[in-house]
């Protein structure tokens, strides 16, 4: 019994000893668990808290209202309209095939749109709203609402979408919006930040230029969602801010009128305020309907646009390059006078052609103009006379003056598509062509042929800067009160000085001339060209002071005329379309109190006098008719002028 008891005691001690060892293990394990808790809940707390929030919070952005673009009189050119859309949350749809079947019965939802939708579905998360149709007709929309109780996971939504009020006349200026592409996201940080399904971004024109200002700030709805993505409660609602509205200097009424008179022609017409630089009209024809792009242009429409020979997608006033032809002559004359190369009394005999540097140079008038002085040469656009002027002047001096008056550089650089054109000189040729300048090239440059390349808006600016007495102006298309105020103040001061015969310097206006008499001479010669018999645009003249304008025609050749062709006396109308001359005309109006300059460039329109000047006449009348109205909308400060 004693032995037994001893064994019992020993065993008990052993058990206790073994338990002690186990207890130390337990302590170690508990320390491990406590350290782990410390690690997770204190060291890594921030990481896990953000992961938890990422789990539980989901944000839905609300598309902001895009800013509106108005014309000078407040008519909306690009506005927002109500559209009816059909949204779907894929995870809420119990049976997608059944839904497709139902949709096909209710709305216009064919096999093609089904395949397209399935493709898009694969790229999206199941809880992300996907837009099945972004522009339903009212009929479809109301039918959907009737059948809504039969379907699950879809939601008819009234949303806003872009609408362009006018079909086409301002499409090139305004551009269009369309769905955000992968490339847009790559290039535009703001779009990446907004990142909204169904968001539209400006692809072209002002829609693109002003995109980030007009797009607005999206609203936000923050929801708490459960593990299945179901919204449990709304935690936050921030109303978005609509984008900024813009007013542009364009007169939409004139724009429409101008577009209409150009009808099936291809070309551009620009009208500019010669003092403020406001672009009043800038039409490119043929044009396109911006609305077609908003919801994605159809393939056939797109093909039609890109296959059209007249290139409707090109913004011709800014991106179209044409040799200026005779419209350069006022600048050639001015340059020669300013450089004292010739006097206005220089007389040259025009026999229809002249042999110089082993080559025969022709005048457009085969029989010749006879004895010409500078005024009559501008008036009748005598080429022989200007060959002589150019020969004496030289290309480099001509180029300086041409650039001064706005050729060879961009007029509205905000537009990506704008081209700067070419004002050639010897340096330019050796740099870009790699050859030295030939004297013969100076001659043809004197009549605006050869390497000369100008855009219609440059010609318009050139005309404006001559017509306003030779001052530099800064063309603008976006209306900005502060900018225009300083311009007006500058001109006011200039007129004040002039009316009081003061010759003080005006620091706010840059003079482009050396002697203003030379400018006046050129303007008078242009008066002759339009308003005196034998003037090139005499047939398009107005007789009343109100509408009287003065301008210079131009016919720019796009082919070399061979000797045989010259003999055949081919008329433009007999040539194939692509070989016909471009018709140009630049003018300012009214002659007595100039206010607007205009440039008309008709591609393959034949002679400037017949192909461009008559259009200019119509536009000028309309512009001047609307001048009174326009005056009401601006600071009326030129009354005294």
């Amino acid at each position: 019994m004693l032995n037994f008891s001893e064994t019992f005691q020993n065993k008990s001690k052993l058990i206790t000893r073994r338990m002690f060892i186990l207890t130390t293990v337990k302590v170690a394990v508990f320390i491990g668990i406590i350290s782990r808790l410390f690690y997770l809940q204190i060291s890594e707390n921030i990481k896990y808290r953000s992961l938890s929030d990422k789990n539980r919070l989901r944000e839905w952005k609300i598309t902001p209202q895009r800013g509106i673009i108005e014309d000078y009189f407040g008519n909306k050119i690009a506005k927002n309209k109500q559209v009816f859309q059909l949204h779907m949350v894929p995870e809420d749809v119990p049976n997608i095939q059944q839904l497709f079947f139902q949709l096909a019965r209710i709305i216009d939802f064919d096999e093609k749109s089904k395949i397209n939708l399935i493709k898009r579905l694969k790229k999206r998360r199941p809880w992300e709203t996907i837009i099945i149709s972004d522009n339903l007709t009212w009929r479809d929309f109301s039918r959907l609402n009737i059948f809504l109780h039969e379907t699950q996971g879809i939601k008819p939504v009234v949303a806003v979408a872009r609408e362009y009020i006018e079909h086409g006349s301002s499409s090139h200026i305004i551009g269009y919006v369309s769905e955000v592409s992968a490339k847009d996201l790559q290039n535009n940080k703001l779009l990446r930040e907004i990142n909204l399904p169904g968001l539209r971004t400006g692809k072209n024109g002002l829609e693109k230029i002003l995109n980030n200002i007009m797009i607005g700030k999206p609203g936000l709805q923050r929801f708490e969602v459960n593990a299945y993505g179901k919204r449990i409660k709304e935690l936050k609602f921030i109303k978005g801010t609509p984008g900024k509205n813009f007013r542009i200097t364009i007169d939409q009424e004139l724009q429409k009128f101008t577009s209409k008179i150009m009808e099936d022609k291809s070309g551009s017409i620009c009208v500019m305020d010669i003092y403020t630089g406001d672009i009043v009209v800038m039409v490119s024809n043929p044009t396109f309907d911006s609305n077609k792009f908003v919801h994605g242009i159809s393939k056939t429409d797109w093909q039609e646009l890109i296959k059209n020979d007249k290139k409707p997608l090109i913004n011709k006033p800014m991106a179209g390059l044409y040799p200026p032809g005779s419209t350069i002559k006022p600048i050639v004359a001015l340059s020669a006078l300013e450089n004292d190369v010739i006097s206005t009394k220089l007389t040259v005999e025009c026999r229809g052609s002249v042999d110089l540097y082993d080559h025969t140079y022709h005048c457009w008038k085969e029989k010749g103009h006879g004895y010409m002085n500078l005024r009559s040469a501008i008036k009748q656009s005598c080429d022989i006379y200007f060959y002589e002027v150019a020969r004496r002047l030289g290309i480099d001096r001509l180029a300086v003056t041409a650039k001064q008056f706005g050729l060879g550089k961009k007029v509205l650089p905000i537009f990506n598509e704008e081209k700067s054109g070419v004002v050639p000189n010897t340096e330019w040729k050796s740099k870009y062509i790699g050859k030295s300048w030939y004297l013969g090239e100076t001659l043809i440059s004197g009549i605006g042929q050869g390497y000369f390349q100008t855009t219609p808006i440059q010609l318009c600016l050139m005309m404006a800067q001559i017509a306003n007495g030779g001052y530099e102006i800064k063309p603008r298309i976006i209306d900005d009160k502060y900018v225009v105020q300083s311009t007006i103040d500058a001109w006011r001061y200039e007129f004040y000085l002039k009316n009081n015969n003061l010759s003080l310097p005006n620091p706010n206006l840059k003079k482009l001339f050396r002697n203003q008499e030379n400018i006046k001479f050129v303007l008078d010669a242009l008066y002759g060209a339009t308003n005196e018999p034998r003037g090139t645009s005499y047939r398009s003249r107005f007789t009343s002071d109100k509408y009287m304008f003065a301008g210079k025609t131009g016919t720019s050749q796009i082919r070399r005329i061979s000797a045989e062709q010259r003999k055949l006396k081919l008329k433009n109308i007999d040539l194939p379309y692509e070989q016909r001359d471009h018709a140009l005309f630049i003018a300012f109006a009214p002659y007595k109190k100039p206010r607007y300059s205009i440039s008309v460039v008709m591609e393959h329109g034949g002679a400037g006098s017949s192909g461009a000047a008559p259009l200019a006449k119509k536009v000028i009348k309309k512009v001047l008719d609307r001048h009174e109205l326009r005056k009401k909308y601006q600071l009326d400060l030129f009354q005294e002028a």
């Binding site: 058990i15 782990r36 789990n55």
Partner: protein, 373 residues
Amino acid sequence: MVEIYSQRDNKSIKDKILSLDYVLIFLILLLGIISILAMYSTEQGKFGYYTKSHLSRFFIFFGVFLLVSFFKIQFWFRTAYMFYFLILILLLFVELYGVTASGSKRWINLFYINLQPSELMKVALIIFLSKYYCKIPSDSVTNFKYLYIPFFALLVPAYLVATQPDLGTSLLIILGGVSVIWLTGFRLQYFLYSSLITICLLPVAISFLKPYQKSRILTFLNPERDPLGAGYQIIQSKIAIGSGGIFGKGYLQGSQSYLDYLPEKHTDFIFTLFSEEFGLIGSFSLLLIYILIIYRIYNIGNNAKDNFAKLYCFGFATAFFIYVAVNMSMVLGLLPIVGAPLPIMSYGGSAMLSIMMGLGIVMSCKLNERSGN
């Protein structure tokens, strides 16, 4: 051996009531109340099915606990083998007529409740081994003739449970049994040998695992392997615990749980929910309660004058510790997900019954210890 107990003088009911371990009872009740509150939180603050049934189970099984306490320890000593074989028969019954749920056959349908015998086996095995070993002198424990009975007593139920399949419970049964064997003085070197053999056999064992079990192990090694599939539970559990911080998100404010990101939040992941809502302070407090319970059980065992009681109490304390440690390590990402409930906190009747009975027997040891010599 039986004489040991017959020598004892029987205490009166009054004495028994007075000698109850009130600290342990208080801790159990505290844990019970915390578990009910946690259950209430899993149902987003609704007094729903889980809360109701957990509440009633807790109080019923608390009654069972008291009832078991008042049985003489001799009774448990005498019925130990019977108890074990009864549960073993139930396990065999499960194998044949069990109720299948979510892919495994673990339950017996007893009209009103589904009983899970594998949970009861956890306690039954400890009693069995305690009784078996208390008779054997410590220096002969390692003898082969005393080895094969515990070996089969351990492996037969473990095998039956593992094939249900319920690897987690099977492992917990083995660990509980092994810890008793350890306490009896089984030689250290044999433990080392068998551990080595186990490690060597591990690749073989893994090849017998079901694909989902394999993926759990792979997931444990790298939870990001399949964040929406096998790794989902552990990732979400770590997010919930980690986002709790020091003070937690507040009661009923645990977003991970009430937004359903947390899987199995009623059962295995109840600690995660608690930790998310009460933070580090809450987790510590809960852990402290468990440590105190283990300490009280240990204390009772330490004061026990006979080896059966001592062995049982120490064995049960260790098993209790293992349940807590495995569950917490699992939800903290320290162990693979094996399906081990947290004692008392987790929803589940059989597990709670098993724990309460175990604690009752511990208390019975306390009530029957001799006061002085």
